[in-house]
């Protein structure tokens, strides 16, 4: 079933209209659960990166042939139980889990914030998120370091490169047992790390991780909110920018598009 409520003011249709692009026919699905909030924002980020976004409904059994999937942020089912704990049982999650498992050429999947929480609940990624150590919701422009530029979602960055990406969540503290953490570190699966201060108590300053194949990535900060000059953070790790001019998150979306056409 399609989603009939467009973001008011959004260009219609959402798909890119560039007929000659090598990205022709390449689509990135954005999943909407009840309570998802950043779905239109993620679709906009895909579009700004040059791709076409397809909206996917949690209750469907059909991935509509998309080439990659983003599970966006929000409070799916209100997060009243445990963030992501109900959403992982959605019909569409079965399709996503099956398509994402199977090595480096499997479906690229990105989980942002609540999407990351859903991916851990679905066991596509290890660990879990608990309440921030401040016990408050925290919204701030966060500095990150790219620790692994080899995943499907980070190839546009250089290893060690720093980014400024908005962070906004209540349950953002990444936790896992030491063996899992050692394994993640040892296999280079820590993809993003917080720098200039750990905002929420996450173990080993981890902000984002990947699965072993590198096609599934989850992170707590919101790269889709640092993709458009004028509406992003006030700063960039790459030099001076204009007011709300930070677009350091765009590389996440161009990475996957490049992989899909490459």
């Amino acid at each position: 079933m399609s989603i009939e409520t467009p973001l008011i003011g959004g260009p219609q249709p959402l798909a890119s209209d560039d007929g000659s692009s090598p990205l022709d026919g390449v689509t990135v699905g954005v999943v909407t659960f009840p309570g998802t909030l950043d779905d239109r924002d993620a679709a906009r980020a895909v579009r700004l990166a040059g791709g076409s976004a397809v909206q996917l409904w949690h209750g469907d059994h059909d991935l509509q042939g998309v080439d990659a999937v983003i599970i966006p942020g929000g409070f799916s089912y209100g997060d009243y139980l445990r963030a992501g704990a109900i959403s992982r049982f959605a019909p569409l999650m079965e399709q996503i889990t099956a398509a994402a498992s199977g090595g480096a050429d499997a479906l690229p999947v990105l989980g942002i914030c609540n999407g990351f929480q859903v991916l851990t609940e679905a066991h596509l990624l290890p660990g879990s998120m608990i309440k921030n150590n401040s016990l408050h919701f925290l919204c701030r422009d966060q500095r990150l370091r790219v620790e692994n530029a080899g995943t499907s979602w980070t190839s546009e960055y250089a290893e060690g490169e720093e980014l400024v990406i908005p962070l906004k969540n209540q349950d953002g503290q990444f936790v896992a047992d030491n063996r899992t953490l050692d394994e993640l570190e040892g296999e280079g699966r820590v993809v993003f790390r917080y720098v200039d201060g750990n905002p929420n108590g996450s173990r080993r300053d981890i902000a984002g991780i990947s699965n072993a194949a590198g096609n599934v990535v989850g992170l707590m900060p919101h790269p889709e909110h640092a993709v458009e000059a004028g509406f992003g953070p006030d700063s960039s790790a790459r030099g001076a920018v204009d007011v709300r001019g930070g677009t350091d998150g765009l590389g996440i979306f161009t990475s996957v598009l490049k992989k899909l056409v490459g």
Partner: protein, 765 residues
């Protein structure tokens, strides 16, 4: 006998009321006055049933009926000129006003109070305040796109303040963040007058196409009435009447059960499902359920439409099956909506409900009988003319009189008082000001709100106004600011209201938007106190006059009375929200400078106006007259700021208000951490003031801007052409890392930032 038949057996039907005229009813407990109860009996020609009494008691409450304020609020309509109506698509009286912003787009916005519930139960009170105002916006057919929250607490170091700050801020964040609405502004003020009566006002903005405007009326006999969203429970019973329409009194039992409990997830789903209903055009009329719940929705929908409605109350889906009909009618359970649907559209309506897994129940239908009939299992328990419930409640011409203490207060000017000695060290004075509870950084609060979601936020805290984009292709967007100064209003309520409007208007223009329309939340003590009533009357008169002079209409708002505990009322606090429009939000002006060498100009002149100022407040003084207001100068200043934004003549702008130039310069430097060299001598000489006055006076119609060197000639020419006083007071310095007020002090930005940032964490983290 089963529980079900016991309930039925105990129901007070209309037939029963007719045969038992002498039966006594608890009208006083439900908040009605004796004369009001007698009026209900006159209207009905008999005693009301229990269910009818429940309806009248909530709908005739101060909160729902505006019975004390109505006679004054009429001025907002009477003082509107045709020119002011130009952009007005829907005015006062509907769930929220709607304003045309061009290109077929419209914006709806409104500010409301949730003061009483937030004191009793801070988290849920504040959360449901957000929920309620957002449902008003949805009811107009709009997608909500932003919220903001003007908050007022008691003294920062009072033992009860932390309870309220933590609960209220978390409640606003917990609800608004879960709805996916960016929180783009507001206020946080501390003053001991709000100790027992914190003010939690909530503003929401929504966006819609002109053709999508929906109104709350039930037309078309035979159309179906449906209730959807959350189930009805026992929360919030009497919220409008016994909680929001009475003063707090420690001798009475806790009013906690009258506070509603919020479920933001249910509301988020409700937003999406309503927008889908609108898009599919399957509802004829829609009304949110807020204060007075089903009583309000049925009577207002019927009264605004064809005049009749027939409802079977046992069809209401309940959370608690033991609720009586009266309780069901009064419940203020959140996240509920009522709609009118044609029989042909019922299936389409149900499909959308099913998609979003929203529960609904068909309650009855619209009639043309002019009567609102509510049945309970087929037995008539309500038979009223809905207009008498919704619109023809009591209206009071409350006595009012100028407070006897006011002359004494106004005569006690700051200059000349014991508190007025000049600080020995201006550097320390600026640090003290910027670390003070009202002027300190509010990041500890605003970092608990999502300002990014929806991806359209072009400016948010701490800039002068919140700015959101409406149309992604053209950049069309809106700016909003809310302001109030309770101290000014205490000194002179007429001028205080005008000053609040002027500041919000100035803030919107400072961001670069053209001010277009006004919403207000009028927070006062008990209307039964003639001195409070005088403050209220003066406030409305001042606000209506100033709106007329500035040419911006009031489109809607809310009155919150009884903000008092025992005999102590809050300062009169009219919170005024102004909405402005941008052709392209890319033109918005931020509140801080960034480029080395840009010239810093002060627009406007400064007089010795410290009465009611933040500085006087820090010295424990409140007396004299608020700053003089010249609305013609405000209009010119606004026109200059808007033109500068359109023509790219300035890179930064900040209005001067609380804390004066000291606060303005500090905030501009801290916004991007860029210093400046400032000289005050020429300003002091021109205006005949000393450096302290130049820094701390709160004279109006002023702003500070930074101008690129290449634009200075054009900028000066424009100010000269408009005959507006302006003076170059300094230059942006990216190297010195300080606010350097030459001849007086150099304040390193690190020191200033630490003082500015530390206050709230020290008290609350």
């Amino acid at each position: 006998m089963t529980a079900e038949t016991t309930r039925k057996f105990n129901i007070d039907t209309v037939a029963n009321a007719e045969t038992t005229p002498g039966q006594s009813l608890p009208w006083a407990e439900l908040g009605l006055k004796e004369n009001e109860y007698q009026r209900v009996e006159e209207i009905l020609g008999r005693r009301p049933t229990g269910a009818e009494l429940a309806m009248y008691s909530v709908m005739w409450s101060e909160h729902c009926s505006y019975k004390s304020s109505k006679v004054h609020l009429r001025q907002f309509g009477e003082k509107v000129t045709d020119a002011m109506k130009e952009h007005l698509l829907v005015g006062i009286g509907e769930n929220a006003g709607v304003v045309d912003i061009g290109d077929g787009w419209a914006v709806t916005f409104k500010v409301e109070s949730h003061n009483h519930p937030s004191f009793v139960e801070p988290y849920q009170g504040a959360a449901t305040g957000v929920g309620g105002i957002v449902r008003d916006i949805i009811s107009m057919g709009a997608r909500p796109v932003a919220v903001m929250d003007p908050l007022r607490f008691g003294a920062i170091d009072h033992p009860d303040t932390a309870r309220l700050v933590h609960g209220i801020v978390a409640g606003i964040g917990g609800y608004g963040n879960s709805l996916g609405l960016p929180n783009i502004g507001g206020e946080v003020v501390f003053d001991s007058v709000y100790q027992g009566n914190p003010l939690v006002n909530a503003l929401a903005v929504g966006v819609l196409r002109h053709e999508d405007i929906r109104l709350a009326n039930a037309s078309g006999a035979g159309n179906k009435v449906v209730l959807f969203g959350a189930r009805t429970g026992g929360d919030g019973i009497g919220g409008a009447s016994v909680l929001a329409s009475e003063s707090f009194d420690s001798s009475k039992p806790s009013k906690r059960p009258a506070v509603q409990v919020g479920d933001p997830f249910a509301e988020k789903v409700l937003i999406e499902c309503c927008l889908e209903l609108f898009k599919a055009s399957v509802v004829e009329g829609i009304q949110d359920l807020g204060a007075a719940g089903i009583s309000c929705a049925t009577s207002e929908l019927a009264s605004n439409g064809d005049g009749g409605m027939h409802v079977e109350l046992t069809n209401v889906l309940l959370r608690d099956p033991s609720l009586t009909p009266g309780e069901i009618l009064m419940s203020e359970s959140q996240e509920r909506m009522m709609a009118v649907v044609t029989p042909e559209n019922m299936a389409a309506f149900e499909a959308i409900m099913d998609k979003w897994a929203v529960e609904y129940s068909w309650l009855g239908e619209v009639t043309d009988t002019g009567r609102l009939i509510i049945e309970w299992d087929g037995e008539k328990i309500v038979d009223v003319d809905p207009r008498t419930v919704a619109h023809e409640g009591p209206v009071y011409e409350r006595p009012y009189s100028r407070p006897v203490w006011l002359d004494g207060v106004q005569a006690d000017a700051f200059t000349g008082s014991a508190a007025a000695g000049r600080p020995a060290d201006l550097r320390e004075a600026v640090l003290e000001l910027m670390a003070s509870p009202n002027m300190c950084a509010k990041d500890w609060v605003t970092d608990q709100y999502d300002r990014y979601v929806q991806g359209n936020t072009a400016l948010a805290m701490p800039d002068d106004a919140g700015v959101v984009r409406v149309d992604e292709e053209t950049g069309l967007g809106v700016a909003i600011s809310t302001d109030a100064n309770g101290r000014y209003s205490y000194l002179d309520p007429y001028e205080g209201a005008r000053l609040a409007l002027a500041e919000a208007y100035r803030n919107v223009a400072t961001s670069g938007a053209v001010p277009l329309a006004v919403t207000d939340c009028l927070n006062f003590g008990s209307p039964e106190d003639p001195e409070v009533m005088w403050q209220f009357a003066e406030t409305v008169r001042g606000l209506a006059d100033a709106c007329q002079e500035l040419g911006v209409p009031v489109t809607g708002g809310n009155v919150s009375l009884y903000n008092q505990t025992g005999g102590v009322a809050i300062h009169p606090t009219p919170v005024v929200g102004v909405l402005g429009v941008f052709d392209d939000v890319a033109r918005r002006t931020p509140s801080g400078w960034r480029e080395d060498g840009q010239a810093i100009y002060l627009l406007g002149t400064t007089a010795d106006e410290l009465d009611g100022s933040e500085w006087a407040n820090l010295r424990g003084h409140l007396g004299g007259q608020p700053p003089a207001l010249d609305l013609a100068a405000e209009k010119t200043l606004a026109a200059i700021l808007v033109n500068c934004s359109r023509d790219g003549m300035i890179d930064a702008a900040h209005d001067l208000s609380e804390g004066g130039l000291a606060a303005g310069l500090s905030e501009m430097a801290l916004r991007f951490g860029v210093g400046a060299r400032i000289g005050l001598d020429e300003v002091c000489e021109r205006d005949g003031i000393d450096a302290f006055t130049a820094l701390f006076s709160e004279s109006q119609a002023r702003a500070v801007v930074s101008v690129p060197r290449s634009e200075e000639v054009r900028f000066n020419d424009m100010c000269t052409a408009r005959n507006f006083p302006t003076m170059r007071i300094g230059v942006v310095d990216t190297e010195n890392g300080a606010l350097d007020v030459q001849g007086h002090f150099t304040l390193p930005l690190g020191v200033l930032r630490e003082a500015h940032q530390a206050t709230l964490p020290r008290h609350f983290a």
